[in-house]
Point group: C2
Chain length 216, copies 2
């Protein structure tokens, strides 16, 4: 079965996946851009372990799913706020495959340069995963953000791997990843701990299905 | 001014300083002992960076403050539960200096072997700090746990340094360090990020006083 994986999801030391007071001007919340500085270091020189994880988020990935907040600042019907909005990434987004955007508001798909096509899925996270698996053609499906979207897939038991980059900054508020998950992570384990000079990479995986049922 | 510092405070990836359901049998909560395995590795062989941080928690430390839950499982008056209780550490505790235990219940001080004396402070965290500073004789005062005690000192603005070891395990519940702190950490910064093979060490410090007042 094609796996659903989260790659390079940055959280602050105090557990936030974005900063407080998200807005049009601060789409990542106040201070939230500090979560991603390790991906775009000021000196342009990524540490080898960081480079490896960034590459892992692209190689072998055949389709992407994201929440509508990651796609854009649009809240509500597209007509009202952003009928022309085609994401943060310009005319040639860095995906180069089918991207499934979770939304409550239907919209025709948008074909971009470079092979990226945005599909707008209104019938829920399971339907989005089904579409993405088909589109991925045997490759991995990557789940983008934001926090609420990752939580939804975790709670539904649909995620197979979660790679976090713990960034040594304090945001003091925002959306916390490890919140309201109940026992959704009870069977999850750390399978890799690989710190770089700037972040601590942690790869978590759901225990295999035969482990899940051994106690039953 | 003698600094008040927290050393080697372990938190899980999901932010907990101890596991869920603390009890006499599980004083660190379920799974909580996994937070401290890096200090006592199974092969007995600490990584150099871990060794450096463990040493830093001893060298130059002249007195210790801890919450009563760290001292023992005693809840309520000593007569009822533990008039003979002298801590988890045996006859010769590893402190070798004055230790101030925060409690609501007065009790005469207890002198142990090796130079450790337990004092029981009933007049609050500021009084405990004052006593500890006197006892430390110019050396650092170390603040032990638990989570609630560290939070109290953080909220009161009395802590100078907080060294965390982020452990790549999930506890799923327990006491969360970064909770209910409001803006207490607004002026705090990461001054060192030093991962080992097993944990990510993060040293946080409060900005100097002249920074605090610059915006005023």
């Amino acid at each position: 079965m094609t796996e659903l994986q989260v790659h390079n999801f940055s959280i602050s030391l105090d557990g936030y996946g974005c900063g407080p007071s998200q807005s049009l001007d601060e789409p990542l919340g106040i201070g939230g851009e500090r979560l991603h500085e390790w991906i775009f270091p000021a000196d342009g020189d990524r540490a080898p372990v960081d480079e490896r994880f960034v590459s892992r988020g692209v190689e072998g990935v055949g389709a992407t799913i994201m929440g509508c907040n990651m796609f854009g600042p649009v809240r509500g019907p597209w007509e009202e706020f952003g009928a022309d909005w085609t994401g943060w990434w310009g005319d040639d987004p860095p995906f180069h495959h089918d991207v499934f955007v979770l939304t409550h508001h239907a919209r025709p798909r948008v074909e971009m340069a470079g092979g990226t096509t945005f599909h707008f899925v209104t019938d829920g996270i399971e339907a989005a995963l089904e579409h993405a698996r088909e589109a991925a053609g045997g490759r991995t499906v990557r789940l983008g953000g934001g926090v609420a979207t990752v939580q939804q897939y975790l709670r539904a038991g649909l995620l197979d791997e979660l790679h976090l980059a713990v960034v040594p900054v304090l945001l003091g508020g925002g959306e916390r990843l490890f919140d309201g998950l109940g026992s959704a992570l009870a069977d999850w384990r750390c399978v890799e701990f690989a710190p770089s000079r700037s972040v601590a990479h942690v790869r978590l995986r759901r225990a295999a299905a035969d482990f899940d049922t051994m106690g039953a």
